[in-house]
Subunit: 201 residues, 2 copies
């Protein structure tokens, strides 16, 4: 059975990273997609494990050759999701989790009718503000900008299929898990991949 392409987006501070790590620790049929980037590796980062580290020319060539599921520019760096490893995992029956921002998520949604798209939202903006402040890693200016970005991203929520309001982490994980289980039972999906049982005698 072909795996699911899971696109998961949500504003910074919503707990998406924790949620996805928890999901993957419970399911060995799920894998993260590895992104490509033009930024240089940081100490300890390995090529093809943490990122595909590409120079600008190679990245540009991959774009030309349509080797990305989605790609975009964040500040002066390029980021993208290489298509080939995703397809390999899907063919092997693994569910591939794409942890992407709304910009990338909407690209995948537009290009891949088979994608299962999930938006992770905070219970409310006040909770998001509290979570960002508690992290203590960002200065107040940065927090204000992240909240503004969150508001902008929440406007794209309706482009996604599923909404998870991340109030209780374990409950949210159970819901994400249910989405995976339910989507594997979808008749249109089985039909599209030629896996609908025929019940011939």
């Amino acid at each position: 059975m072909r795996g699911l392409l899971l696109v998961v987006s949500g504003p910074s501070g919503v707990g998406k990273g924790t949620l996805l790590n928890l999901l993957l620790s419970h399911r060995d049929d799920c894998v993260f997609s590895v992104s490509a980037t033009t930024r240089p590796p940081r100490p300890g980062e390995e090529d093809k494990v943490h990122y595909y580290f590409l120079d600008g020319e190679t990245f540009s060539q991959w774009v030309e050759e349509e080797r990305f599921l989605e790609w975009n520019k964040v500040f002066d760096r390029f980021y993208g999701t290489p298509l080939e490893p995703v397809e390999e995992h899907l063919r092997a029956g693994k569910h591939v989790v794409l942890d992407v921002d709304v910009q990338g998520g909407v690209q995948v949604i537009d290009n891949r009718p088979d994608a299962v798209s999930v938006f992770v939202a905070p219970p409310d903006l006040a909770t998001l503000r509290t979570r960002l402040t508690k992290r203590g890693t960002e200065p107040p200016d940065e927090i204000a900008l992240r909240l503004l970005t969150a508001k902008s991203e929440l406007k794209s929520m309706s482009r996604y299929q599923y909404l998870l309001v991340n109030d209780d982490l374990e409950e949210t994980r159970a819901q994400l898990n249910a989405i995976i289980e339910a989507e594997t039972c979808r008749i249109s999906r089985m039909a599209a991949s030629g896996q609908l049982p025929t019940f011939e005698t």
Copy 2:
């Protein structure tokens, strides 16, 4: 939150009744819809509990007044799903389970874009034959007819959204449960019932 309208169909002998009873014993937010019929009550059957027992004239009037979600004739009796009690449950946040044959199921699917439709299939026809034979309640002729009906019903499978292959009852229940959990997270559903969070500050 508005409840889900769950349409569940599947051939005789597939274990659908056992599955749905098991589901309802695990979830108190699910209720069976009560059908209407023109057949007389059997000993112990109560009006509005087991069936709405209607005379032919009343049934016909309800059809005229579009008070059925679906209805059809089986041999010389009429059966139908009264709309009003279903709507009451949905408004109260209950998931309403419609255990209907394919004829009725397809009517609901055609009329209600909000319906969640589930087809329960056997692992294969040989298993279905074994299950029907093991029951020991039907003569061989009847079993042959039921198998033929099953083959005919399986042709309508692709009209449904989800397929559950009932091999292991507990696994099938978990899948049906996952479908309910996932569908309550659907953004289109929340938007249609005005329940999509807005994240206003």
